[in-house]
């Protein structure tokens, strides 16, 4: 099945790199242009999904193994909540990013936004890839012809 999709394989090899690059751009430019954690997470997951569709589930699972997906899934939420808890330990309110650099509140806000967007991006990537693995793992019930 893999050998006669030559065009798809070549295009995907080119595409996957740029998609991941674009996802990272969207992730870390969320403060300056439209974008942020969710969009970046979805785009990053799309990169893995395209690779999975074209090269098959086993190959993409060698790149991003399932147990790692399930760890990443939980890590993002903890990163987000952890930032808030760190602020609480510093005596500020929950999720008050001034705590990250008490001397310069606005730079604390910048750091805060960056970290929580990263946490959200990680969680959304993990979730979308985990959902794709779950759906792709089941045996299809209809053959390719009668769509």
């Amino acid at each position: 099945m893999i050998y006669h999709h030559l065009i798809l394989r070549v295009v995907t090899k080119v595409l996957v790199g740029t998609i991941i690059l674009f996802a990272l751009y969207v992730q870390f430019h969320g403060d300056f242009s439209p974008g942020g954690g969710f969009q970046a997470g979805v785009i990053m997951a799309v990169a893995f999904i395209i690779y999975g569709i074209v090269f098959g589930l086993r190959n993409v699972k060698r790149v991003f193994p399932e147990w790692l997906v399930h760890k990443v899934l939980a890590l993002g939420v903890l990163i987000y909540a952890g930032t808030g808890i760190y602020a609480m330990f510093m005596g500020y309110d929950f999720l008050d990013y001034d705590a990250l650099s008490p001397a310069h509140p606005t730079s604390g806000q910048h750091w805060g936004l960056l970290i929580i967007e990263f946490g959200v991006g990680v969680t959304v990537t993990g979730v979308m890839v985990a959902i794709y693995y779950a759906f792709a793992g089941r045996p299809p019930s209809i053959s390719n012809e009668d769509w």
Binding site: V26, G30, D31, F32, S33, P34, G35, G36, G37, F38, Q39, V42, I43, A45, V46, I49, P65, E66, W67, H70, L73, A74, G76, V77, Y80, A81, G84, F94, L95, Y97, P105, T106, Q109, H110, G112, L113, I116, E117, G119, V120, T123, V124, G126, V127, M128, A130, I131, Y132, Y133, A134, F135, A136, G137, R138, P139, P140, S141, I142, D146, W147
Partner: protein, 185 residues
């Protein structure tokens, strides 16, 4: 003037797509049309100045939900059977809800009215304070992350719940040792 024309065109195309989805029998066409519907709504969001929402709707609505719908159809049956019951009762339910909604719009401020309550009370305060408090060009990210950061934490939890739910229903939690054994066989 150009805004209202593009809005009217987009909205009429949206209505046509929605009606087509009601009529369609083949599920593959229905899923493609739902992708079209999401993309059209993303365009409408751009004309309504909601660029972040347009980005998300395009990425999530047209992208991931179409992939999920297609993979579900691959695992189920592709053709829909015509329902045997008459469409009268659902139509009545829909008309009653529609009437309640229209009743609600009677006292609503006009579309795009700058001195509507929503535009006077909290909205401008966000716009005024973001440059000083958070000093981030994208006001939506500022509100999303910092002013209403707890909402976004809840949102991340919603995504996390969906992830766990699908794992529980379909594949179950994989642990490192199990993966090694699985690869051996």
């Amino acid at each position: 003037m150009i805004d209202t024309i593009t809005n009217i065109i987009l909205l009429s195309m949206l209505v046509i797509t929605a009606l087509a989805i009601v009529r369609m029998e083949r599920l593959f066409a229905v899923v493609m049309l739902s992708g079209v519907f999401s993309l059209l709504s993303a365009l409408l969001f751009v004309t309504l100045d909601a660029v972040d929402v347009a980005f998300t709707e395009a990425a999530v609505g047209a992208g991931i939900s179409t992939v999920l719908l297609l993979s579900t159809i691959a695992l189920t049956k592709p053709v829909e059977r015509r329902p045997r019951h008459t469409a009268l009762v659902p139509f009545i339910v829909v008309c009653v809800t529609g009437a309640a909604l229209v009743y609600g719009t009677l006292d609503m401020p006009a579309f795009g009215d700058p001195n509507a309550p929503a535009q006077i009370h909290v909205g401008p305060e966000y716009l005024a304070r973001t440059p000083d408090d958070i000093d981030v060009p994208n006001a939506v990210t500022a509100i999303l992350g910092s002013y209403r950061g707890f909402d976004t934490l809840g949102e991340a939890a919603v995504v996390f719940t969906a992830g766990i739910g699908v794992l529980l229903l379909l594949s179950g939690l994989r642990r490192r040792r199990e993966d090694e054994e699985e690869d051996q066989i």
